[in-house]
C-alpha cells in the first residue's frame, strides 16, 4: 500500500512542511532586519559598533548551525532557563528561530556589506555634500542601492535558510526531515518513494525560487 494514501502520514507530511515554511518566514524576517542593522554597524563611524558587527559575523558565520541550534536548546533553554512559551513545541520553534536568525543574520550582513561596496563613491559624496548625516546617507542613499545589487545572493541565503530549517528537527520540532525519517523507519519497503516525495517537494519550491530571485535581481538592478 502506498504510504501517502494513509491520511495520518499525509497530515504528518503537510505539518512537516508547514513547520519548514513557518521557520523560514519568521527567521528570514528576523535575519534580514538583524543583518541590515549589523551591516550598518560594520560601516559606522563608531569603532565599538564596528567591533560588535565584525565579532558577530566572525563568531556566527564560522560556527556550524547544528552547534548553534544545539546551544540554543541545551544551553540557553535547558541550562540557563531561557523560555519563550510554556508549550514545548512552540518554545522549541522559537529557540530554532533564534538559532537560525543569529546564524543567517551574519550572512545577510556580509552580503549587504558587499552590496554597499558596489554603490559608486559619487553617490555617497553627493549625499554628504548636501549635508546628510551618516544615518541618512546609509538609509536614504546607500542601502536602497546596495540591496538592489545583492538580490541574487540574498536569494541564495534565503534558500539556504529554508533548507537549514530541517536542522531544527534535532530540537524537537517535527519538521519535514524528521517526518521523512519517521516514515522511512515505519515503511521500510517504500524508502525511495518517501525520499522522492520529500526531496521533490523541496525542489519544486526552491528551484523556481532561485530563478525568481535571478529574474528579480535583473529587474531591480541599478542600471549604470
Amino acid at each position: 500500500m502506498d504510504v501517502f494514501t494513509d491520511p495520518a502520514n499525509l497530515e504528518a507530511y503537510r505539518q512537516g512542511f508547514v513547520w519548514v515554511l513557518e521557520l523560514t518566514v519568521v527567521s528570514a524576517v528576523c535575519a534580514l532586519i538583524l543583518g541590515a542593522i549589523l551591516a550598518g554597524f560594520r560601516v559606522s563611524p563608531i569603532p565599538v559598533l564596528r567591533w560588535i558587527g565584525s565579532g558577530w559575523v566572525n563568531i556566527f558565520r564560522n560556527t556550524p548551525l547544528t552547534l548553534i541550534i544545539f546551544f540554543c536548546y541545551f544551553a540557553l533553554y535547558s541550562t540557563l532557563g531561557l523560555k519563550f512559551s510554556n508549550q514545548v513545541t512552540i518554545n522549541n520553534f522559537w529557540l530554532g528561530v533564534l538559532g537560525l536568525s543569529v546564524y543567517t543574520a551574519a550572512f545577510v550582513c556580509e552580503t549587504i556589506r558587499s552590496g554597499i561596496g558596489t554603490v559608486p563613491v559619487g553617490q555617497v559624496e553627493a549625499a554628504r555634500a548636501i549635508g546628510l548625516s551618516f544615518f541618512q546617507v546609509l538609509t536614504l542613499v546607500v542601502l536602497p542601492q546596495a540591496i538592489r545589487s545583492v538580490i541574487a545572493p540574498m536569494g541564495s541565503i534565503l534558500i539556504a535558510l529554508a533548507k537549514n530549517t530541517t536542522i531544527v528537527g534535532t530540537i524537537g520540532v517535527i519538521e519535514a526531515s524528521t517526518v521523512m525519517k519517521d516514515l522511512i523507519n515505519s515503511n521500510g519497503d517504500q524508502v525511495i518513494q518517501i525520499f522522492a516525495v520529500f526531496a521533490l517537494t523541496f525542489a519544486i519550491f526552491l528551484v523556481p525560487t532561485g530563478y525568481f530571485f535571478g529574474w528579480l535581481s535583473n529587474r531591480l538592478e541599478v542600471k549604470r
Binding site: P47, N62, T66, L67, F70, L80, I116, I157, G210
Partner: protein
C-alpha cells in the same frame, strides 16, 4: 582607511570627534552591560564553577574526546572535499556539453541536489538505504555521501560559471591549433576557470567543513558528537563544552577563510583575463 565604508561619513571634525567619543562611551557601556548580564545569567546557573571548565585542562579530555572527534571531522571533510571537487568538475563539464542527452540530465542532477536539504540526503542514505541494500550504512558513509552530492553540485555551478567566464578567444585559439574538445577543456578552460573561481571554491570548502557537524545528528563520532555530546554527558558541562568546541570550529574556519583571502590576493596579482570583472557574484551558500 581604504575600505569602501570609509566614504560613508566625512572625516570627523572636532565636534564629530567629540560626539563619536560620547557615543563610543555610551555604546561601550551598554555593550559591557550586556556582557555583564550574560555573565550574571551564567553565574546564576552556576556555569562558571571551576569543575565544569576543569576537564578542558586535563589531557585525557583532549585525547579521549576532542582530538579523536577532530580527526573524524577532518577525515570526513577531506574525503568529501576530494569527492565533491571531482563531482563538481564532471557535472560542470557535463552541463556545458553540446549533447543535450548529457547536459539536460547533468543540469537536473545539479539543480536537484542543490535544492534538497543536506540533512534529507543524509537521512535517506543513513536510514533509508539499509532497507534497500539489507546492510547497515555507516554514519561516515552517509555524511560523506550527503556532503559530496550537495557541495559537489554547488561546486559544479561554480566551475560552470568559471568556465563560461574564460574569454571565448581562449577556446577559439585552442580549437584553431587543432585541439579536440576534451583537450580544450582539460588544458585550456578548466585550469583558467579553476584559478578564476578559486576563492569561491575554497569558500565552499569552508562550508563543507562546517557541515560535517551534521554528522552529530546521525551519531557520527565527529567533533561535535565527541566534544559536545559525549564529553558533556560525562562531565555535565554542556555549556562549557559547546563554547570550547565552537571556538575550535571558529579557529579552523577562520584559518581556512584567511587562506581563501590569501589565494584571492594572490590570484588577483596575476594578469587578469578580460572576463574577470564580469564574474557573477557568487557567494557560497551558507548551508548548515
Amino acid at each position: 582607511m581604504n575600505s569602501p565604508a570609509a566614504v560613508l561619513y566625512d572625516h570627523p571634525g572636532p565636534r564629530a570627534r567629540a560626539r563619536n567619543r560620547i557615543l563610543t562611551a555610551v555604546i561601550g557601556v551598554l555593550a559591557l552591560l550586556v556582557v555583564y548580564w550574560v555573565y550574571g545569567a551564567f553565574a546564576n546557573a552556576g556555569q562558571w564553577d571551576a569543575y565544569l571548565w576543569k576537564p578542558f585542562l586535563e589531557s585525557s579530555t583532549w585525547t579521549q574526546y576532542i582530538i579523536p572527534g577532530l580527526i573524524e571531522t577532518l577525515k570526513a571533510a577531506a574525503l568529501s572535499m576530494v569527492l565533491a571537487l571531482a563531482f563538481g568538475l564532471v557535472f560542470a563539464v557535463g552541463r556545458l556539453s553540446k549533447h543535450r542527452w548529457v547536459s539536460v540530465p547533468a543540469g537536473i542532477v545539479v539543480e536537484f541536489f542543490r535544492a534538497v536539504p543536506l540533512l534529507l540526503m543524509i537521512f535517506f542514505v543513513f536510514f533509508g538505504l539499509p532497507y534497500i541494500t539489507g546492510g547497515a550504512v555507516p554514519a561516515f558513509v552517509a555524511v560523506v555521501a550527503g556532503l559530496t552530492l550537495y557541495n559537489g553540485s554547488v561546486l559544479a555551478e561554480a566551475f560552470r560559471s568559471g568556465i563560461k567566464a574564460v574569454p571565448r578567444g581562449q577556446s577559439e585559439a585552442a580549437y584553431a591549433i587543432g585541439l579536440r574538445k576534451s583537450a580544450v577543456m582539460r588544458y585550456v578552460l578548466i585550469p583558467q576557470a579553476a584559478r578564476l573561481m578559486l576563492p569561491v571554491i575554497v569558500g565552499q570548502l569552508v562550508v563543507l567543513l562546517k557541515d560535517t557537524a551534521l554528522g552529530y545528528i546521525v551519531a557520527l563520532p565527529e567533533l561535535m558528537q565527541r566534544g559536545v555530546n559525549d564529553l558533556s554527558a560525562n562531565y555535565g558541562n554542556v555549556v562549557a563544552a559547546a563554547i570550547v568546541i565552537a571556538a575550535i570550529y571558529i579557529i579552523m574556519n577562520a584559518l581556512l577563510t584567511r587562506f581563501a583571502v590569501y589565494l584571492e590576493r594572490r590570484s588577483s596579482r596575476l594578469p587578469r583575463t578580460k572576463a574577470a570583472p564580469d564574474l557573477p557574484v557568487q557567494i557560497s551558500e551558507p548551508q548548515g
